[in-house]
């Protein structure tokens, strides 16, 4: 039996991956790769109890905070967790529910548009007619 929270996290991820345009370009495997690691699954399990800071998450594991942070980045880029900024802390929570699905979609839309527009900048620079320099 799958714990409900995992189901929610994967559900949310699946719908965003399947149904929104930009996501067609992204690899669904990123999410499953993120879930393939036991520490990361344990982190998700702990987050199922509620929001936690990196320090709180690192406690039960025999791991440094940077190591935990690295796992959190993987989970975050796979869309499985969400983080917010609270002073110097960045508490994590499970990403689930429709609103967060939309937030994730927006984040990925932003990413795809940003790469498009960076390429467009380069193209526009090429399209500029060569300026004639006036002799000085």
């Amino acid at each position: 039996m799958i714990p409900r929270v995992f189901a929610d996290a994967v559900f949310c991820l699946t719908i965003t991956n399947r149904l929104y345009n930009v996501l067609a370009m992204l690899d669904l495997d990123t999410a499953f790769a993120a879930l393939s690691d036991p520490t990361r699954r344990a982190i998700l399990g702990r987050l199922a109890l509620g929001e936690q800071t990196v320090m709180e998450l690192a406690q039960p594991f025999d791991m440094s905070q940077p190591a935990i942070s690295k796992h959190l980045r993987v989970l975050e880029s796979a869309g499985l967790i969400a983080r917010r900024i609270e002073g110097a802390k960045r508490p994590c929570r499970l990403a689930k529910g429709g609103v967060e699905a939309i937030d994730q979609w927006l984040a990925m839309l932003r990413k795809a548009l940003a790469s498009n527009y960076d390429r467009l900048d380069a193209l526009l620079a090429d399209m500029k007619p060569p300026k004639r320099r006036r002799g000085r």
């Binding site: 719908i15 930009v22 067609a24 393939s36 429709g98 467009l120």
Partner: protein
């Protein structure tokens, strides 16, 4: 160039703004001429657009096909509604994955900004009812496979 700004307007719209260092005419052309579109509208690294149809006139057709090196691909279709050369484009588009996503209604504005252009793109988000429907159909079709894979891992 200035960074992209992406905001939501209520529940329904996403508004994207971005400045470019070229005049509106040039930026507009880059949005309407297939040969130019194919050079930049590619999403994440690794994708190309082998097919680009863009009939920049009212009721003109849009068809973009993307492909990657792994042999994956998908396409988008759409129609132009209104074009005001070098200033404004209104069109609808939908992705085919392969099922069509709901129509996305998009207004793109090109405003002079010093020597450059301020681009504003306003697009519609699927409404709550559509999102709910997408969620439930996604669950029916996609979840079983995910659960099976997940069960293997936990």
């Amino acid at each position: 160039m200035s960074k992209l700004i992406l905001t939501t307007e209520g529940e329904k719209y996403v508004v994207v703004t971005r400045r470019f260092g070229a005049p509106p005419k040039t930026v507009y052309q880059a949005h309407t001429e297939p040969k130019l579109i194919q050079k930049w509208m590619l999403g994440p690294e690794g994708w190309s657009m082998p097919v680009c149809i863009c009939e920049a006139k009212p009721k003109g057709k849009i068809r973009y096909e993307w492909a990657n090196a792994k042999g994956a691909g998908f396409h988008l279709t759409g129609e132009f509604i209104e074009l005001q050369p070098y200033r404004r484009i209104v069109h609808v588009e939908r992705m085919h994955l392969p099922d069509a996503t709901p129509d996305n209604h998009i207004e793109t504005k090109f405003e002079p900004d010093g020597a450059g252009t301020l681009l504003t793109m306003r697009m519609t988000l699927p409404d709550i009812e559509t999102r709910t429907r997408m969620l439930s159909s996604g669950m029916e079709r996609g979840m079983e496979a995910s659960y099976v894979r997940l069960e293997g891992m936990i």
